[in-house]
Amino acid sequence: MSMEEKQNSQTFLDFNQSTFNPSTREEIVEIIKDCYKKNIPLEINGTKSKNKIGRNFQSEKTLSLSKYSGIIEYKPEELYIKVKAGTPVKDIVTELDKNNQQLAFEPIDFGFLFKGSSDAGTIGGVVSSNFAGPRRFKVGSARDHLLGFQGINGKGEIIKSGGTVVKNVTGYDLCKLLSGSFGTLTVLTDLSVKVLPKPENSKTLIINNPHLKKALEYLGIALSSSTDPSGGVFYPEKFDNNFTFNDLTHKGALTAIRIEGPSNSVDERIKRLIKELSLLENEFSILESVQTNIFWNKAKNLEVFSNSKSNLLRIVVPVSETLNVIQKLKTFDVNYFLDWGGSLIWLELEKINLKTLREIKEIAQEHSGYYTIIKVEEDLKASADIFTIDPIKYKISEKIKKSFDPKRIFNPGKMYSGI
């Protein structure tokens, strides 16, 4: 090690500082080993675009991966990109654009929700939170696109799983387990993520219809049809000011269905869908490709809640339950829109208390689903359940946590108290 390098490494390994910003894997290993030895709990983050999601917890130090950033390898013809965990999603998207490829699971940009403008965060954060956009029912979420990783467990040991090939059944599938674990099991350092070609064209069928029940019927027929949609949302009338498009001929509530593929096939399928849904000429509009992209980015990034001061919950239920769930939720003062063909409910509540939260959680569970608190007043955050878990899964989660992070130094308590 040169003198200069030594000085650099000493700078960051100064344990008096509260935030570590390592730029190499070796540095990360050293920090974690030291924290393991000294029992120092760490908050793990990237660029903090989603750090408001999850429980508040005590940590002595922060390990930021924002400097551990960069594309390691991009093989368009092998359909994967290998990146460091702190790489901004924006950089990845820009790189993939050059080859007309994309992250098909549509990572959500939570910047609009939390600060009113775009901040898509890092790929490590996207994988760790495992939230997926409108294409969820067709292509899956982040967990379905993580092909392999290298990371560091709570003892400071480098571990890996998976690889860069789509078909791999060698050992336990830790890619799945770590996706959505909110940094509580392993500090992900290098990620191999599946990429897919962008569709040649896409259009959106927007149906003018105020009724939730009818909207769910439309979405049900569309998602079960051979027209193969890749998005299905319903926005009640309350949001109509958010959607102004040249091709959109109606105001009011809307049901939107996205069709993607080769140009002539998109037109053919839109035509078929209109027939299958028995729509009259004055009941629908069709958004062209550019407007379609804008529309679905708005949907994916929760832009209708941009700058909202209210609380936001995310509820996932089987689509057969959605109507009943919404009817029950209407007894509270709520705004909502539906994604994933009706299976995902984004719920906005201006006023909230622990009792309401408990009741909403129970409604979700009664209908075979779950809820996650995405945004909530600070004073409620300490006492409310942010995630849903039952006692058996809590017990298993405790054991799994211990197997990766025996001293609970990674984001302790971020998901559940005691884990």
Binding site: K75, P76, E77, E78, N130, F137, G140, S141, R143, D144, I158, I159, K160, S161, T164, V165, V166, K167, N168, V169, T170, G171, Y172, D173, L174, K176, L177, S179, G180, S181, L196, P197, P199, E200, S224, S226, D228, G261, P262, N264, S265, E268, R272, V316, P318, V319, S320, W340, S343, Y370, F387, T388, I389, I392, K393, I396, K399, S403, F404, M415
Partner: protein
């Protein structure tokens, strides 16, 4: 395999009578003749009779058996249809074999949520058959789908030829009910599109029966595509075929299936099934697209141009569904076709980056010369899954040994070029000792720690997947003698 616990063997009578208190004695098999069919799965080179075979009928029974075994430190090996190719359900001498065959009913067809809830020993194909009259199907289609069970598919994370476009089991699974080694019954996932918290559904999928026993499965179903068409293309070199694959992907086409065979296999399968293959081609490719008429035609046209640009020597587009199936008939008969060429063959199952195909096939040709054993290659070019078939004569012990070494060398090379030891057959006992080619001690230790967290006494399917001795020994592969596998009539890979 793990050391045999002699106290278990000597206690057989007591264990038998205890088990008969938990489940109906008619569902407990203890006589040598009754047990024999359960001695092996489709990796028939390995055989071992278990202590007892039990056939539970309810989740409660499974739970009580597991709890009993856990309390009494008795090893237990779960088994579905027994079609696994890596020895995942090979019994141990001192184990109870938990045969799930009585869990054979489809429980619910739920079109509103586009899913099927089923017991684990229903076959993969039966799910599609149950929903096809309504125009739906279950996407993952391992070639043994007429016989393999959906529970086994979950345990192995089975794929099929359509994995690139539709994913493997893990991407098509919504929920499972599972019994843990201590008897705990729980559910991971359900009918909703995902669940939150740690992804135990993902962890269980492909865990080869080491973490829990699956007692119920909920899978997604998809609308049957309207049109399916295939192109049959010959190339003068494997490199040309490989380049064509890369360009198809680069141009934004995601085929439903894309297969390449080398000259040896093209010839063998064509002789066997008269599929009309271009036998002079060094590499032959089948590319299939599904979707709407316009969509499929657009892609087929694109592929035609790309193939011509890459020096294709012949090109046929299926004009009917029958013709398309004829294209596949030869490919699907790869096993019996090789059976004609040699007394025995072993089927390997590695994954490689698509772009490394020519390099890996060249290496296999070199190794074939080195070991003086012929080989034929099939390749799922869509998802990078390579299946070399090594031909040999098992009656010659020297050749068997050579063949095993040859196979291990191929898999090691797959890992070296950035691929994986197994794409879809699983590790089981077959590739256990090769795990250290893919993982170092720390990786394996982390995985073993997870195992211990859920099964502290290592009683559930012990001896599988993870090497017992940290020494890379070469073991046998899928070994077929005189066309006699356990189920010789089932299409493979």
């Amino acid at each position: 395999m793990p050391k045999v616990d002699s106290s278990i063997l000597s206690n057989k009578d007591k264990i038998l009578s205890d088990i008969e208190k938990i489940i109906d004695p008619k569902n407990v098999l203890s006589h040598t003749d009754e047990i024999r069919p359960y001695e092996t799965d489709a990796l028939a080179a390995y055989k071992q009779a278990p202590l007892l075979v039990v056939l539970p009928e309810t989740v409660k029974e499974v739970s009580e058996i597991l709890k009993y075994c856990n309390d009494n430190k008795i090893k237990i090996v779960p088994r579905g249809a027994g079609t696994g190719l890596s020895g995942g359900s090979l019994p141990l001498e001192d184990c109870i074999l938990l045969a799930m065959g009585k869990f054979n009913k489809i429980l619910e067809l739920d079109y509103e949520n586009r899913c099927v809830v089923t017991q684990p020993c229903v076959t993969n194909l039966a799910i599609t058959q149950a929903v096809q009259d309504k125009g739906f199907y279950y996407a993952p289609d391992p070639s043994s789908q007429i016989a393999c069970s959906i529970g086994g598919n979950v345990a192995e994370n089975s794929g099929g030829v359509h994995s690139l476009k539709y994913g493997a089991t893990t991407n098509n699974l919504l929920g499972i009910e599972v019994v843990l080694m201590d008897g705990t019954i729980t559910r991971f996932g359900g009918k909703a599109m995902d669940s939150e918290g740690y992804d135990f559904l993902g962890l269980m999928t492909g865990s080869e029966g080491l973490l829990g026993v699956i007692t119920e499965v909920t899978v997604k179903i998809l609308r049957t595509p309207e049109v399916v068409k295939a192109a049959l293309i010959g190339f003068p070199t494997i490199e040309d075929a490989g380049n064509c694959v890369a360009e198809i992907i680069a141009q934004g086409c995601i085929p439903a299936g894309m297969e390449i065979m080398d000259k040896a296999l093209t010839k063998a399968t064509n002789d066997y099934s008269k599929a009309g293959y271009p036998t002079d081609a060094e590499g032959m490719m089948i590319v299939e697209f599904d979707g709407t008429e316009h969509e499929v035609n657009a892609y087929i046209e694109k592929v035609k141009n790309i193939a011509e640009k890459n020096n294709s020597s012949s090109l046929k587009i299926s004009k009917s569904n029958d013709e398309r199936l004829k294209f596949w008939a030869g490919r699907k008969a790869a096993f019996p076709a090789c059976g004609v060429l040699a007394p025995d063959y072993m089927c390997m199952d590695g994954s490689i980056p698509r772009g490394k195909l020519a390099e890996v096939l060249n290496e296999i040709t070199k190794l074939s010369k080195k070991y003086n054993l012929p080989v034929a290659n099939a390749f799922h070019a869509g998802d990078g899954n390579l299946h070399p078939l090594i031909m040999f004569d098992a009656n010659d012990p020297e050749e068997l040994k050579k063949c095993e070494e040859f196979g291990a060398d191929i898999l090691k090379y797959c890992v070296k070029v950035g691929g994986a030891l197994t794409g879809e057959h699983g590790v089981g006992i077959e590739k256990r000792e090769l795990m250290c080619e893919a993982f170092n001690d720390k990786d394996i230790q982390q995985q073993l720690t997870i195992k211990v967290a859920l099964d502290p006494n290592s009683l559930l399917n012990p001896g599988k997947v993870y090497p017992i001795l940290r020494k890379c020994a070469e073991e046998g592969r899928v070994h077929v003698h005189g066309g006699k596998t356990k189920f010789p009539d089932i299409p493979r890979f």
